[in-house]
């Protein structure tokens, strides 16, 4: 491409020189020599800029550099042509006269090349910067998702361990069973990746492990009703969205009253979304004093936003002494 370009220029110069009254031979020598030299110096300029880029504060360097290259070009052109055509007095006079024009022309070309090179470099830099920024954003998003997902409630963990400690003395078999459940639950929490969806069935099993552990902790005070009969258990959903909602429901249900409580968890399909509803009883008197959704729910809200860029996928309402959290998971049809 570069080469073709210069052949073209040599041709143009040949025509111009011939029009100015030089014979074909001399015109050809002149045109090819000066074009070749100009091509060489332009290439040089680009090559040098490839290794050395003047900073933003010394833009003038580029021009001084272009000027220097042009002077070099003129000297070498004059020298080469004088060397090749020493006997032709008429031509040498012409060469002498045409030097200023050649100089200006070469300066324009070289400056133009330098400018192009500078612009191209700028665009590259910009692209690279954008790419870096995108990468950084993606990484930050993934890290945030991971952190939100693995936000284990230390209360849950330490209290479960305490229950195990209590069982170990009196009922070692139950202690062993609970260790198993807790380990499976923790493994499930750690291994999951947001980019991969899991089946509803798998999530439900994870949730049941959690509920089993909580039942051991709270004994008869906690009752749970789970009804997922009306939904397809092979439905794919992002992992660990349901458990924090249930955790929140248990926490508020149990800490809001001193009685036995029943948590209801049910699912249905509506508007192409899988909906999961969690209900827990609450006490209006205590609740009016404790506003706020608590960490559990705000982190779910944030995750849903990161995953679906929507803020309307989790709804909470209070009805007949029940606190109802509804989670909507959009289903992407293949």
């Amino acid at each position: 491409m570069y080469f073709v370009w210069w052949i073209f220029w040599a041709f143009v110069q040949l025509i111009v020189l011939h029009r100015l009254g030089l014979n074909w031979e001399i015109s050809l020598i002149d045109a090819s020599i000066s074009s070749a030299l100009l091509a060489f110096f332009c290439f040089d300029a680009v090559a040098i800029f490839y290794y050395y880029q003047p900073g933003k504060n010394n833009r003038a360097y580029r021009f001084i550099f272009a000027l220097g290259i042009t002077i070099l070009f003129c000297i070498s052109t004059k020298w080469a042509l004088t060397y090749l055509l020493p006997s032709n007095q008429e031509y040498l006079q012409f060469l002498e006269k045409s030097m200023p024009v050649r100089f200006i022309f070469a300066l324009l070309i070289i400056s133009f090349v330098t400018l192009l090179n500078w612009m191209w470099n700028n665009i590259q830099d910009q692209k690279e910067k954008e790419k870096r920024q995108n990468d950084a954003e993606q990484l930050a998003k993934e890290a945030e998702l991971a952190r939100l997902r693995q936000q284990l409630q230390p209360h849950f963990l330490f209290n479960s361990l305490n229950s195990i400690s209590a069982l170990a003395g009196s009922k070692p078999n139950e202690a062993r069973k609970m260790i198993q459940q807790l380990s499976d639950f923790l493994r499930g929490t750690l291994k999951k990746d947001d980019q991969q969806t899991v089946s509803l069935k798998e999530e439900l099993e994870h949730l049941k492990l959690y509920l089993e552990i909580e039942k051991v902790r709270f004994g008869h005070r906690l009752n749970v009703k789970v009804d997922f009969d009306s939904t397809d258990l092979t439905t794919k959903i992002p992992p660990l969205l349901m458990q924090p909602i249930v955790e929140n429901a248990i926490k508020f249900g149990l800490y809001d009253t001193t009685d036995e409580i029943t948590i209801e968890i049910l699912s249905y399909v509506k508007d192409n979304c899988l909906c999961v509803q969690v209900k827990n009883p609450f006490d209006a008197e205590t609740q009016s004093a404790n506003h706020g959704t608590g960490f559990g729910l705000s982190s779910i809200q944030r995750r849903l936003f990161l995953l679906y860029a929507r803020n309307d996928l989790m709804i909470t309402e209070k009805k007949d002494g029940q606190f109802i959290t509804t989670l909507k998971i959009p289903q992407i049809k293949n």
Binding site: N162, G169, T257, T258, A289
Partner: protein, 247 residues
């Protein structure tokens, strides 16, 4: 024989304390409680020497329960994880057990308690602890009060004003008032300063209840509340109140 009460909402957490206690024949467990309400009743009824107390419990937490008592026994806190509270424990001479705890650690706590119990009263330490424990998020929005045997949770926005009353404060709501063994400085510190304002050495008002500032005499003013109650304004209180309201 010393009397002991265990207060924890998780049955297994109570059972491990029971198990560890078996060797300590000099201690007798007189009650086990599920929550702070039962705790208050049992403590009034049995007057125990020592209680094991969980912090996170239904309705009211362990600290709020202690605030309801006129005479507090020695307390060993048992908690799973509570960064604020633990910091407070560390700076106060009161023992706490982090769940799950070992038998050795439990025995050590009992030993420490016996040493302390022999030569001073627990109440003073406990008062400093309660004053210095940072409030949990829930607690900032409610005040737990007791009227006879009736325990109430009052949302802070229902408190119209607070008046100093000897060693107590009176918390006035729409229909009644509650006595609480706290200081004015405590409430000035704890309550949201954009909603509550200390008008005077002995008064804090809920700014939502304020309707007018009226002159009383030359250079003296009173704050008029919606229910018609006039609250004295000190000179500095008046200047600050004007600043807070931006007038």
């Amino acid at each position: 024989m010393s009397k002991v009460i265990i207060i924890d909402d998780e049955p297994l957490a109570r059972s491990i304390v029971l198990e560890y206690m078996q060797e300590h024949k000099e201690l007798e467990i007189v009650a086990e409680c599920n929550d702070g309400f039962q705790g208050v009743k049992a403590i009034i009824q049995h007057k125990p020497d020592l209680i094991f107390l969980d912090i996170q419990m239904p309705k009211i937490n362990g600290f709020e329960m202690l605030e309801l008592l006129d005479h507090t026994p020695s307390v060993i806190f048992t908690t799973a994880f509570d960064e604020y509270a633990i910091k407070a424990f560390e700076t106060n001479a009161i023992d706490y057990l982090l769940k799950p705890f070992s038998k050795e650690r439990f025995d050590l706590a009992i030993e420490k308690w016996k040493l302390k119990y022999a030569n001073n009263d627990p109440e003073k330490n406990l008062q400093t602890l309660l004053e210095n424990t940072p409030k949990q998020p829930d607690e900032k929005n409610r005040i737990v009060v007791k009227n006879g045997s009736d325990i109430r949770i009052v949302p802070v926005q229902d408190v119209m004003y607070i008046e100093a009353y000897d060693d107590y404060v009176k918390l006035f709501t729409k229909d009644t008032y509650y006595l609480k063994k706290k200081t004015m400085n405590y409430y000035e510190e704890v309550l949201d300063s954009t909603k509550f304002f200390r008008t005077h050495r002995s008064f804090i008002i809920n700014l939502q209840e304020l309707t007018r500032i009226e002159p009383l005499e030359k250079n003296t003013y009173v704050a008029l509340l919606k229910n018609g109650k006039k609250i004295p304004l000190s000179r500095t209180g008046y200047a600050k109140l004007k600043e807070t309201l931006g007038v």
